[in-house]
Amino acid sequence: MKDWLYLPIDGSAHGAQIDNMIVVIHWLMLALFAGWGLYFIYVLVRFRKSNNPVADSVGVRSHFSKYVEIAVAVFEAILLIGFSIPIWSTIVSAFPAEKDAVVIRVVAEQFAWNFHYPGADGVFGPTAIHLVSSDNPLGLDRDDPSAKDDIATINQLNLPIGKPILFYLTSKDVIHSFSLPLYRVKQDAIPGQKIPIWFTPVKSTRAIQEELTEEMSIADGKLSPRLSLMISMRDYPAKDGSAIIKKGDSFSEEMMPLLLQAGITSVTVAPATPTEVACAQLCGLGHFRMRGFVTVQTSEEFNAWLAEQASFLTQ
């Protein structure tokens, strides 16, 4: 069922619980719909006027429907007590200790995601409204010692694989919704409030990219909007052996005729940024483009990235 439901790849530790629930509920829905649907069609045919000219004013005499209703109620109760309530209390309202987790502040604004890492000292520096500027969207007080090593990024969220990530979510202006569809995370970011959420990524962005690798036809020689969001997963050389596109690169308008000349009509591609942050709540005219990128990587890569970011700070 999961495949029929078009659920996207799930890269989180808890996601399977959500997916399973969705699947189970859809089975229930399907059973009810199919059962009643068959009955419905049967009745429409059997009791049409030409077949049954005189109606029976009593109609159904059995109590079968009562049992169906009770069964639905029981099933719903099981979903509630057996699944929904306990799962929610572990994945949404219980949190890992800060010391065991990677802690990140997420500050939404029209129309960007600010990510705030505490840096080596593990302490978030203080922020103030009057310090907010285009260079310092968080309003971080860089003079404060605890802020010196803080890392701030815009629309780029790097996470280490396999570790619990604890976010503190807020917003500067209106309500946004922090959604990582491939990690089954979604939570509104509300100004004036600090809302904790957490999850553990278990699939790296690269692994997801591998999974999403597909063949795409380029026979029409055009750079479709879809292809422009893809990267090549292979090297494609021209007839003379020079590279037209390398693995990991994205496609451009100029490459298309070259590829066709080289006799290549279909390419192996994967989404350039399969793991994204989507804004799920209407937040203004730029809501549709309030897109961030998630890079889930190994701890080494993550630490290297942190170090690199830190080195930018000292410059």
Binding site: I25, W36, V60, S134, S177, L285
Partner: protein, 599 residues
């Protein structure tokens, strides 16, 4: 209780729909007769025409939006229309995101508050309910007229908002603060319009409840009321008690926008890099609570009258009583009550602990049970029937599986864990459109085909009706089924480009075009209806006063159309339940409620 003898006109028997009566009212001017009329039937027709026009308008703006969703950023093909919408909104025929948001918010607002509710309650409720209870009019006719005109002002206000600087409201029909507080002037106009619409609904609901309680004719006990009257009764209570908190919220938002207060603005807001110079200290979630306190009962306002219509049409066209009439009535009462305590299922992801969210998902699961019972009863009513596939019946039958799809998809939304993935995606859009469009709209169409002969004395054409039916049912599914697929894939709603930029949307993006083409075909499928509607008024087949051989009073006790003032030549008396069809031993296969003995 017998009041028929006390006042002139009621007790006396007029010969035909007629001469005598018309003379009474000839001196009434055109204005009093057709515009500022206090006759519930005229008011019902006024509501009907106005709300149908709004439905058409709301649908039209969605057809325009669907172009942008199917072909983002491409020039709109109908040049004059793009031109009409203005360079500020569609420069060179390309829709701007601001404009998309305006149209989206107005589509939702218009469809819900100016289209479906006024049609279901204002039109059908006003026209049919007093007739079904044997009343000569509503309890407060002047108030009834005022309700319509206040609604009309609300509608005009909403339309006016397109023409103020910055255009119409653009924060969604939900108008979440702080976005709505910092939005352009259109939002203020939207709030004013809502104040009108809420006032109109309040006046209307008081009138409906008093009418149903006080003006039932002799013998018409509550357990003999047609199901449709029951649905109107419960609906009126929902409107009466759920709307005032939104009115309060509207006043607070107006204060925030105009008087500089901070009811919905927390301290420390920074908009576009600028600190907002307000006192702060407010709560954005307060708006959501007050909004959904209304808006969840409101969705049952959208569905209950529809169920009422379905009940009437099904009983009539199966020629048998509704199965489980009593349990259906208890179910809608329970449903009405519960609808006040489920609202926060729209807010699971606003930061909710286990306790509160569990309360709301439990109530949500509980409220689905009465819906299941009602649907089951309607389905079982078919068993043993002698089903006549008339045009209204086709629409009524299609309601059942369509509402089932809409209702069933409410379940994964109602359980908070599955809602994490589905919240604010197209899955939600699919869910509620299945209940309101192929659900409620189909029921409303059924009602129009069913009661048209009562209003005009003529039947609507069946061939055009069937054309309308098949076109609508096929294309409605074409529009809304793909939305589930897109929603499960995680595509957010209210995206100006339909998700074109998002990688996770790519695999389901091609459905946008399919959906849009279905929507335009759905538009075409309405042409036979519009033609039929006007053609049948003048040229439709003339019918007697009870063409469907129905039992309820609006058919059995009065002419078509009913007398201009007073409805009945002789006030009927009721001797039996609403659906005595195919009673054993009776001569005919229906026994009207006002028939004394089973002759």
């Amino acid at each position: 209780m017998d009041h028929s003898s006390s006042h002139g006109g009621v007790g006396t028997t007029h010969k035909t729909h007629g001469a005598h009566h018309e003379a009474d009212h000839l001196h009434q001017s055109f204005w009093r007769k057709y515009v500022f009329s206090t006759d519930h039937k005229v008011i019902g027709i006024q509501y009907g025409i106005t709300s149908l026009l709004f439905l058409l308008f709301g649908f039209s703006i969605m057809m325009i939006m669907r172009w942008q969703l199917a072909y983002p950023g491409q020039e709109f093909p109908i040049k004059w229309l793009a031109h009409l919408m203005g360079q500020d909104n569609m420069p060179d025929g390309i829709m701007l995101p601001e404009y998309y948001n305006q149209l989206g918010a107005m589509h939702g607002t218009i469809m819900v508050f100016l289209g479906v509710v006024p049609l279901a309650v204002g039109a059908f409720g006003n026209y049919v309910m007093p007739l079904q209870i044997g009343a000569i009019d509503m309890a407060f006719p002047k108030l009834n007229m005022m309700s319509y005109w206040v609604y009309f002002c609300g509608g005009v206000t909403m339309l006016w908002s397109f023409f103020v600087p910055g255009g119409a409201a653009n924060s969604g029909w939900t108008s979440y603060a702080p976005l709505s507080v910092i939005a352009t002037t259109g939002q203020t106009i939207w709030l004013l319009g809502m104040v009108f619409l809420i006032t109109s609904s309040l006046l209307g609901s008081v009138n409906f409840i008093v009418t149903i309680i006080q003006l039932r004719v002799k013998g018409l006990t509550f357990m003999r009321l047609p199901f449709f009257v029951w649905t109107q009764f419960v609906t009126s209570f929902l409107l009466l008690l759920a709307f005032p908190p939104l009115e309060a919220a509207g006043v607070l938002q107006l204060m925030d926008r105009i008087a500089g207060t901070s009811f919905f603005l927390p301290s420390g807001l920074v908009v576009s890099g600028q600190a907002l110079g307000v006192s702060g200290g407010g709560s954005p979630l307060l708006w959501q609570h007050l909004f959904w306190f209304l808006a969840h009962p409101e969705v049952y306002v959208l569905i209950l009258p529809a169920m009422g219509i379905i009940g009437e049409v099904i009983a009539n066209n199966t020629r048998k009583p509704l199965w489980g009439y009593k349990s259906m009535i208890y179910s809608i009462i329970f449903l009405g009550f519960m609808s006040f305590i489920v609202w926060a299922h729209h807010m699971f992801l606003t930061g909710m602990g286990t306790a509160i969210s569990s309360f709301f998902q439990t109530t949500t699961m509980i409220i689905s049970i009465p819906s299941v019972i009602i649907l089951t009863a309607l389905l079982l009513s078919l068993w043993g029937g002698s089903i006549r596939y008339t045009t209204p019946m086709l629409f009524a039958l299609s309601f059942l599986p369509m509402f089932a799809i809409g209702g069933l998809t409410g379940l994964p939304l109602g359980l908070n864990v599955s809602d994490i993935h589905l919240h604010d995606t197209y899955y939600v859009i699919g869910h509620f459109h299945y209940v309101v469009a192929p659900g409620t709209l189909m029921a409303l169409f059924a009602g129009i085909y069913y009661w048209f002969p009562k209003v005009t004395g003529r039947k609507m054409n069946d061939i055009l009706g069937r054309l309308h039916f098949w076109g609508s049912i096929v294309f409605m599914n074409g529009v809304f089924m793909p939305m589930f697929i897109q929603g499960l894939a995680g595509v957010s709603r209210r995206l100006y480009d339909g998700g074109e930029q998002y990688a996770h949307a790519q695999s389901v993006l091609h459905w946008n075009e399919f959906t849009s083409i279905s929507a335009w075909c759905l538009g075409l499928a309405q042409i036979p209806f519009i033609v039929n509607f006007f053609w049948s008024m003048k040229k439709g087949q003339k019918v007697n006063s009870n063409p469907w051989e129905a039992t309820t009073l609006e058919w059995a006790a009065t002419t078509s159309p009913p007398l201009a003032h007073g409805n009945f030549e002789k006030i009927p008396e009721v001797y039996r339940g609403p659906y005595e069809y195919s009673t054993r031993g009776a001569k005919k296969d229906y026994t009207p409620q006002n028939q004394a003995s089973e002759a």
